[in-house]
Symmetry: D2
Subunit: 337 residues, 4 copies
């Protein structure tokens, strides 16, 4: 039985509590939040969970094996290091940390102490993204040519990081899991529309060693919510619409064929095969439920998480390079590897 403490009971914390409460082999022992009214709300639903306004109590508790941190990114390094130093396994809300240096320290500390560090990138635990990875890895798409994602929102502003750190982070974790390739350089452009606030709209392009190219469109001030990713392959293409209730992943049997018909001088040089569309059945279990079970499993068996510290660090490295490019109107920035 893994006994869990949760720090932060704002937007995401309740989801962690609810899912771990329903996970065999796990038990939520205590929750810390500095806002008493949040703890009261927790108490109504889960009277048996201990509450405290001092997160230190959780580090000190001997009946806690693991800590989940669901607080703003600026606090991740401090809280995560304290948890690891107290010998607790760590589930850290994404992104792992606010800088490359901080992320590196967390990864190193977890490795030194042989503790599980899982970064809460949720998407690799969804049936949709797992199916996409299976299709890409199985080769049925052919050579992957592009990844193009639109992830725009009905406005939830965060005051401490730009929209890249808040929304593009999801695509970066999906790409890391699905594409099996690391970007060489990035170019990011965007704009601030609210005085004193970070960029609320941004477009990020990632360049790879070969002709693969990726692009992410993120926006906090969109009139509608969109979650749509296109993955183009030489043989097949995927459209992944996360808001589609029943057909989230569609596979298009279309691709390129070069034609060499000499008569078509002013015509197309490329034949485009449009064919059948196929929408595979997906696992429907809740992503966070899968992730909670995976965390318990990794602790019990001493295995590495799908979205471990290395993965979280890679995402932070890309975000860091993107932020620098963003501040220089799209100048090409190499990504450290």
């Amino acid at each position: 039985m893994i006994r869990l403490g949760v720090i932060g009971y704002g937007y995401w914390g309740p989801n962690l509590v609810r899912n771990f409460a329903d996970t065999p082999g796990a038990q939520v022992v205590a929750v810390a939040d500095f806002r008493p009214e949040r703890l009261e709300r927790l108490g109504r639903a889960y009277p048996s969970i201990r509450t405290t306004t001092r997160h230190q109590d959780l580090f000190e508790a001997t009946d806690i094996d693991a800590i989940a941190v669901a607080t703003p990114v600026s606090t991740h390094h401090e809280l995560g290091m304290a948890a690891l130093r107290a010998g607790k396994h760590l589930l850290m809300e994404k992104p792992l940390a606010a800088s490359v240096a901080e992320a590196e320290e967390l990864v190193a500390e977890a490795a030194r102490r042989k503790l599980v560090l899982l970064v809460d990138h949720t998407f690799p635990y969804t049936g949709a993204v797992r199916k996409i990875r299976e299709l890409v890895a199985g080769g049925s798409l052919g050579k992957i040519q592009y990844y193009d994602s639109t992830r725009v929102n009905l406005g939830l502003f965060q005051h401490d990081v730009s929209v890249l750190w808040d929304l593009a982070v999801h695509d970066l974790s999906i790409m890391s899991y699905v594409l099996g390739a690391k970007p060489v350089a990035v170019s990011a452009v965007g704009q601030k529309h609210v005085a004193g606030q970070p960029e609320n709209i941004a477009w990020l392009t990632l360049f790879y060693d070969d002709s693969l190219i990726a692009h992410i469109n993120v926006n906090w001030l969109a009139p509608v919510k969109i979650r749509r990713t296109m993955i183009g392959g030489s043989e097949k293409m995927i459209v992944y619409d996360d808001l589609e209730p029943s057909e989230k992943v569609k596979v298009y049997d279309s691709g390129l064929t070069l034609t060499e018909d000499p008569k078509q001088i002013y015509q197309l040089l490329v034949g485009y095969r449009a064919g059948d569309v196929w929408s595979p059945k997906l696992e429907t279990s809740e992503a966070l439920q899968n992730e909670a079970r995976h965390f318990v499993d990794c602790i019990e068996h001493g295995t590495a998480p799908i979205t471990g510290g290395d993965n979280g660090l890679e995402v932070v490295r890309i975000l860091d390079a993107s932020s620098r490019s963003l501040s220089e109107q799209g100048r090409l920035i190499q990504v450290e590897r």
Copy 2:
């Protein structure tokens, strides 16, 4: 009665013939295409229209007042200059020409001879774009913050120009008509996925004097067709989906309000008002029909077209700067003004 000659009866030419045949005050007198089988097809539908494989015949014809050119962009300058020199009014397929220098020559020649030069940017003649211009100009959106467009295709490759010249050109003409602002600089990134071919996927960002920013996503190798533009304003926002059969333009009564509630320390600093959605009734007449009538009208009254040579030249200037940025992985390029 304006007597028209049409050069090029491939993809677009038949649309021009059909619409001008139905335009009061216009008459299609002759069509030139170097492919006899195209002319045969025309002959079956319109036996009374003269046909020729030599476009020179149209310049020489004394019973022709105006020429419409629907041929690849590399031929625009030569055919357009010949038409103007023959004293014919000119309707030129978009983009106006393949380079800034060529476009400038066409504009100067038309001005010198006092002939109407209309560039066939179709969108400003649609009910949807006219309504959007009316809303933006009327101020009901507040300060315009961004224009973000996705225009991706089920693959029709052109071998002579990149996807920017083929698809982004539409957004550039819409932006010129709707926003009433000219970009200062551009950054474009993209990729070639077919050997020997131009870029088939590209993302173009346009920077303006103030905090307005625009972005265009174009792709010839998308699995699905998308035509969707979001225009964000400080008071209201628009989603324009050109594939939506009956509600192409939606106006979202949502915008930003800064909140100053000191208690919300870790909370949102921006209040987002989500409100009603409104989809205005649009004119439903065919855009090309409106454009044909406008061309006839401009010739008869000696007035300047909505999408005249200056407009066509502005678009070519942006495309030219974008192409240079594209070849340098997004380097910021100033737009000549």
Copy 3:
């Protein structure tokens, strides 16, 4: 503080527990279900709630003021009567009972004992249906001409009642709340496709005193889920799509105008004004939360619920007449009033 007991912890019971647990002024004291594994699951999430496999325990408990029943319809009468006789207020899962006689007894018993009887028709507690009622009652739709609903499912079979009792019941409660008119007669047709099971597909038509007509299409074996209702008025029309995430209710500014132009002999006699579309902002609070608060409120203030016993009885009367029509291939059956 209203102290609640819940009978039945299958599909719907957990929703009741979760919502009442979050309702100020209410407290879930005990849950009864004859399946111990369900109670174990409850215990993991809510260790402080008392559990029992004997529902009689709840009737006998002196610390319980109200009972919510979430069991199959065949058990409603027995459990409901026992609860009322024990002096408990009653929240009964829809439909109120399996026959008109049973429903009448429940209504009479609640009235005699001055206990609140709320039938758990959820839709009148949604922001969407409340807005529709407001629009209809305010007269802006003009004379209501038809209500036409499609409510089809990805197959959840119930073995004890036909699809009418399972799905059409929702529309009947919406219509009762929104239209303010009672049907005079019904005609229902349908089919059984599974041996030994009730009708899995059915279409129900309701006739009213005037030219209003209503139709409900229900199906347990549909390949897709649809929840769409059209309400036609002489001035405006509504489309209510409950699966639409953000624009559930759309109001169409279109209606009839008779034209008398004598030239249009073979032409339309009816001018159709297609105009703007408007999607009003809706309350987004959860329906069951609203309903739970309303139940507490009715008990505290002794007021009659929006979806009280009379309403539940009216719905059962229509379902009963519909079942008879269904068994006679659509024969017109009068509805008792």
Copy 4:
């Protein structure tokens, strides 16, 4: 070369002219319409086609082999009989005639004179309906259980027939082509909302020898246009949405499996397999073009059309029975066979 005369140049006539003008082996020789302004419009687009306000001219013309009639249904019998008696092959706008007796006479006359009689039911000539027929006939759907169609409109009123004759006629021709079964009896209900006009909203149910059941929802006063048909089979199901631009036909790999698990007493008795979704590539040629070619082909080879007189007569018989049921509030009416 089949030389064609067309009677009626209102809404549908121009489509016939345009398609036959583009059909190899056919030539449109003359068009009759009693409205001179319609003929003028034709003359502008097709100056080489002869025009007349007297339809008798077409029957008398020796250079006409076949007549297409695109006039209101009340005139079909008279014009069709005159065309057949003049020895012309006949393409008749749907429905074939205004009564069973009239339709029988037309079929008999065409048979006696060995002339081709094609009823202009367009849907069997679409790629979508052809694919559906192929899937149903191939058995991959299993036993067909239901056909359920919604065909509602943004209001075009016809003053001479009810909405059943105008819209349900399309489904009846699709069902005849796809299902290969004839209905035994019908029940129709509906309402008139415009004084002096026929029913503008109606629901038609068709009963068959076995457990197959069909239902058609038609409405001239709907706020939105819908064209959606669900076909349920024991193995797979189809959703056919004719307004969907690229995925008109979707095949759902879902169906019923009876489960006999004795533990599930209050549970589902039917297991529902939800699986993959598949959208087959469809022929994209225009339906009316296919139909025009088929008409020419039938005349040249003396073969029977897919949508011949027998088919047209079957549809009229169902419509006639439906009209009687409609006037008696859904009374079950046998269909003559």
